[in-house]
């Protein structure tokens, strides 16, 4: 076995040192009736060549490498080569959670920079070093709001990613958290502020808004924050398309920002691994791990992890705390590389290209909503049902949009389209043709 660094002679030498005859004696304490007594029923071990051949064959069974207009929480953005180069360095890739600060300074420094950049992007004071993904970050933000306010319930906009809302329900289910949904305005596609405000009461911990929302529409976060605060609740700003942060103004009144950073250098990878993040105002410690500097004389030489995560993993305040240990998601370092690679101007231009391209295509299609949008928008499929349009697009080697019937029955004649910098003008023109009467034929 090529991963095992011992010769048989060395194994015998070690057994001898242990006073054992055979390796089977190492397992003598396992009751015989529990021992497997047969090889596992798996295919025989294969060479590296064969394993990679299998994986490549699986890759070929997928339809990828085509212009793709899917977004909805997973985005096709260009991944600069240096990101992969740096993220795959063994010193980052094969290190554990930085328990030992003195030999983890590289990772801790990268995380510290990452946290700072998240603060700069979101307008918050502190950020943590990544949650599992955007959906779990949003659910954790809701639990955090409950602890901060001492209130029980949350109101979530119906325009929040439907799968994020499902995760929130799973997390809330056993904690007596009631979730009410604030409807979206059928004209604008944004949350109806008055309807949302009417759902808030003196036991509401938070109002959760995604912006840009699932339909791509930019929500009136300021007004919604005022409504939340008037009721004594927090405003949680969730996001799934991080590139929008390069252009959209952060909401100054938000109390917690929770989102998904997949757009920063992580490939779609069939839905994971991604990287969630929580940022907030001073004094409200987000769940999971953070890197920080001790505030004393030689701060510059030593940085470490105050490490809520470590404290919880090894010294749990048993019974008392409701906070759940979160191992970080796909890694601050990865996102950090991209922020740094694109930089201030690059990220702005990236966002502007997304905006321009999305508006180019949107101008050629029947939009369902009037609200301002970033790089995603909902279109009505007038001539053909969404599935038929997608089939026609597949025939032209284009992966179309997301039919919305599954999540919003009232939008069964609509699909959600996303346009990033990866989409070329001619592909948009080809897509728009299919939407014309008779175009899907």
């Amino acid at each position: 076995m090529r991963f095992l660094p011992k010769s048989d002679a060395e194994r015998r030498q070690m057994l001898e040192a242990l006073g054992l005859e055979s390796v089977e004696e190492l397992f003598a304490q396992i009751p015989p009736e529990l021992r497997l007594g047969r090889p596992l029923a798996l295919e025989p071990g294969r060479s590296e060549f064969e394993v990679l051949e299998f994986m490549r064959a699986c890759g070929r069974q997928n339809k990828t490498g085509l212009p793709c207009f899917l977004g909805a929480g997973a985005y096709y953005h260009y991944r600069p080569v240096v990101v992969e180069t740096l993220a795959s360095r063994g010193e980052f890739l094969t290190a554990y959670t930085p328990y030992q600060a003195e030999i983890s300074q590289g990772l801790l420094t990268a995380i510290f920079e990452f946290q700072t950049m998240i603060c700069q992007l979101t307008g918050m004071d502190v950020a943590n070093a990544s949650m599992y993904d955007g959906s779990t970050a949003m659910a954790e933000a809701a639990l955090m709001a409950r602890r901060i306010t001492g209130r029980e319930h949350v109101v979530v906009a119906a325009s929040v990613h439907p799968e994020y809302r499902e995760v929130l329900r799973t997390y809330a289910h056993n904690q007596a958290i009631r979730i009410r949904e604030a409807p979206y305005d059928p004209e604008s596609g944004a949350v109806n502020v008055r309807a949302a405000a009417s759902l808030l009461d003196d036991n509401t911990a938070a109002l959760i808004i995604q912006s840009p929302n699932f339909f791509g529409v930019v929500e009136p976060l300021g007004e919604l924050a005022e409504a939340a605060h008037a009721a004594g609740a927090l405003l949680i700003h969730a996001f799934s398309e991080a590139v929008s942060l390069g252009l959209l103004a952060p909401c100054e009144q938000a109390d917690i920002v929770a989102g998904e950073l997949q757009s920063f250098a992580l490939p779609p990878s069939y839905g994971g691994p991604y990287a969630g993040v929580i940022a907030t105002r001073e004094i409200r410690p987000p769940a999971a791990r953070q890197a920080g500097w001790p505030d004393h004389g030689h701060a510059r030489q030593s940085r470490l992890l105050p490490d809520a995560g470590h404290a919880r993993a090894t010294h749990p305040a048993r019974k008392s705390h409701l906070e759940h240990l979160h191992e970080p998601g796909a890694g601050g370092a990865d996102g950090d590389h991209l922020h740094a690679a694109y930089g201030k101007q690059g990220l702005r231009e990236l966002a502007e290209q997304n905006l321009a391209k999305a508006h180019y295509l949107a101008a050629r299609l029947p939009l369902r909503f009037r609200g301002p949008f970033f790089n995603e928008f909902v279109v009505r499929c007038e001539a053909q049902p969404p599935e038929a349009i997608n089939r026609a697009l597949a025939g032209r080697n284009i992966i179309g949009g997301l039919p919305l019937a599954r999540f919003y029955p009232e939008l069964s004649d609509c699909m959600l389209l996303c346009v990033t910098e990866m989409i070329r003008r001619e592909d948009m023109d080809r897509l728009a043709e299919v939407f014309q009467p008779g175009g899907a034929a």
């Binding site: 490549r56 094969t94 990268a110 252009l247 500097w293 001790p294 180019y360």
Partner: protein, 493 residues
């Protein structure tokens, strides 16, 4: 000093913000092929930010040097033994990375029509089958994103099953040797936690156990081998007792590296367990993520697994959303797919013989370290060790040297420390898990270092207490950092 490490020049590097200068850039986009739009016009002026204040501006070469320099300040598996107990820091085969980077997998979108992602679904289906076979369970969900997430999912499943029988019950039993995440999991699933004491052998006291399993008990969360590295020999009996009272047995599979190919939790009566693909199945820890924490269950729990579930229809894989008894989603999409690819690549490379051989070597290494260090360090529990062994600092403490001091001194010898001061049932614990990835030479260097430190603790305890001496930074003040943290950079005014 022994032969593993010596000091050499390390590059200094400021923070990324401190090397930033206006106008520099590390990335160039293709020219925009559509008309530019006025952001303020289409989004509303109030929605558009002026700039990202303080955001760094660097050239590409500076980005590469910055992170490469930072990387040299880190210890990693690729540099040597990383004997963190219960963390299973084994070698991460690079072929796994190549597998996960296959373009057709990397760029598959989670909302592509199922007929266009059959390759992804085939990989997930194969991994589900392999993990079920390895654990002796009936069904597997790959959705949970990490070990603790898998734990939470598992306990939610138990709650859902019991609730469907009319009463979710109130309590979860957790041994005092359990991983710290276990009580947190139980609490977030809405359960009270009752700690149960280990007996003098470090195991669950099978005589006292039946009386603990009242009508209120939903499940026992057991770790096997437990955090002392000891196999719970009564596990089958424990399962029987729980089942006879209508309760279930949850197993934390964090220590599965001791069992693969030798014994299967499912055959011992375990109802639910989670696995850590980033431990047992060699996917990289990445400095803390991403992981993956699949949950394996017995048949009766299958209807409650997170949705969607894979099913085969006319020879094609499909997602089944029609799962009325499901606990719901625990995350968006289907799981950490890229991690799943790596784990399957590992299982395929090893095969049944390789997986078993890895277990054997892991247990051999741990016993070898134990045997060689026993003359120098206190071994509080004498039961046979599986994949890890736990010493205490009792002998060194007489000289004022504690487990953290020994750990920090180990850094000077070129090793990552063991797990410090855990499990809690061993005061001053040194928890050592070498894994199968260490050669005899690396193990001997480690043993030599540990023996040298034991001698230093007697002859020059101050040297150990003030370690490490050869790192970029001296021992950091964790207390101050936790009390007065600085969590972000801000420009000097």
């Amino acid at each position: 000093m022994t032969g593993k490490a010596r000091s050499h020049i390390v590059q200094d590097e400021p923070l990324v913000f401190e090397i930033s200068a206006p106008g520099k850039r590390g990335c160039q986009l293709p020219p925009l092929d559509v008309p530019a739009v006025d952001a303020a016009e289409v989004l509303g002026a109030a929605n558009v930010r002026r700039e990202i204040e303080g955001f760094p501006e660097l050239s590409e070469v500076e980005v590469v040097r910055h992170f490469t320099r930072l990387s040299t300040w880190n210890y990693a598996i690729d540099l040597g033994m990383y004997p963190l107990g219960s963390c299973t820091m084994k070698y991460n085969p690079r072929a796994n990375e190549a597998a996960a980077s296959v373009e057709g997998l990397l760029w598959a979108h989670p909302y592509q029509p199922e007929e266009t992602v059959q390759g992804c679904l085939e990989i997930m289906a194969r991994l589900e089958r392999a993990l079920a076979e390895i654990t002796g369970m009936d069904a597997v969900s790959l959705q949970p994103a990490a070990g603790a997430h898998g734990e939470l999912t598992g306990i939610l499943l138990i709650r859902a099953l019991l609730a469907s029988r009319g009463n979710p019950r109130r309590k979860i039993l957790i041994p005092d040797s359990a991983h710290g995440t276990n009580p947190a999991t139980a609490a977030i699933a809405g359960y009270e936690v009752e700690n149960i004491r280990s007996n003098e052998r470090g195991m669950i006291d099978i005589e006292a156990f039946p009386s603990l399993v009242t009508e209120d008990v939903a499940a026992l969360m057991i770790t096997n081998p437990n955090t002392l590295g000891v196999f719970e020999v009564n596990i089958a009996r424990i399962a029987e007792i729980l089942h006879s009272k209508g309760a279930l047995l949850y197993m934390d599979g964090a220590n599965m590296n001791a069992l693969v190919g030798i014994t299967r939790p499912g055959d011992a009566g375990v109802d639910v367990l989670h696995l850590n693909l980033h431990k047992t199945f060699s996917t990289p820890h990445g400095g803390g993520g991403p992981g993956s924490g699949p949950v394996a269950v017995k048949k009766e729990l299958e209807p409650f697994l997170p949705k969607p579930r894979l099913k085969q229809v006319n020879g094609q894989w499909r997602w089944d959303y029609d799962r009325p008894q499901s606990i719901g989603r625990v995350r968006a999409f289907y799981g950490n797919f890229g991690v799943l690819v790596r784990a399957l690549a590992y299982i395929m490379a090893c095969g049944p013989e390789g997986l078993r051989a890895a277990t054997v070597d892991a247990v051999l290494n741990s016993n070898y370290v134990r045997k060689k260090l026993e003359p120098y360090y206190d071994l509080p529990h004498k039961e046979p060790s599986m994949h890890e062994c736990v010493f205490s600092d009792r002998r060194q403490a007489r000289h004022g040297v504690r487990t953290m001091d020994i750990a920090k001194r180990l850094i000077d010898y070129g090793f990552h420390p063991y797990t410090v001061a855990f499990p809690l049932i061993v005061p001053g614990a040194l928890m050592i898990e070498p894994t199968e990835s260490e050669s005899l030479r690396e193990l001997d260097l480690f043993i030599e270092a540990m023996i040298a430190i034991a001698r230093e603790a007697e002859e020059n305890p101050e040297l150990v207490r003030t370690a490490p001496h050869t790192t970029r930074t001296s021992r950091v003040d964790e207390v101050t950092a936790a009390r007065k943290p600085i969590l972000r950079w801000r420009p000097e005014r």
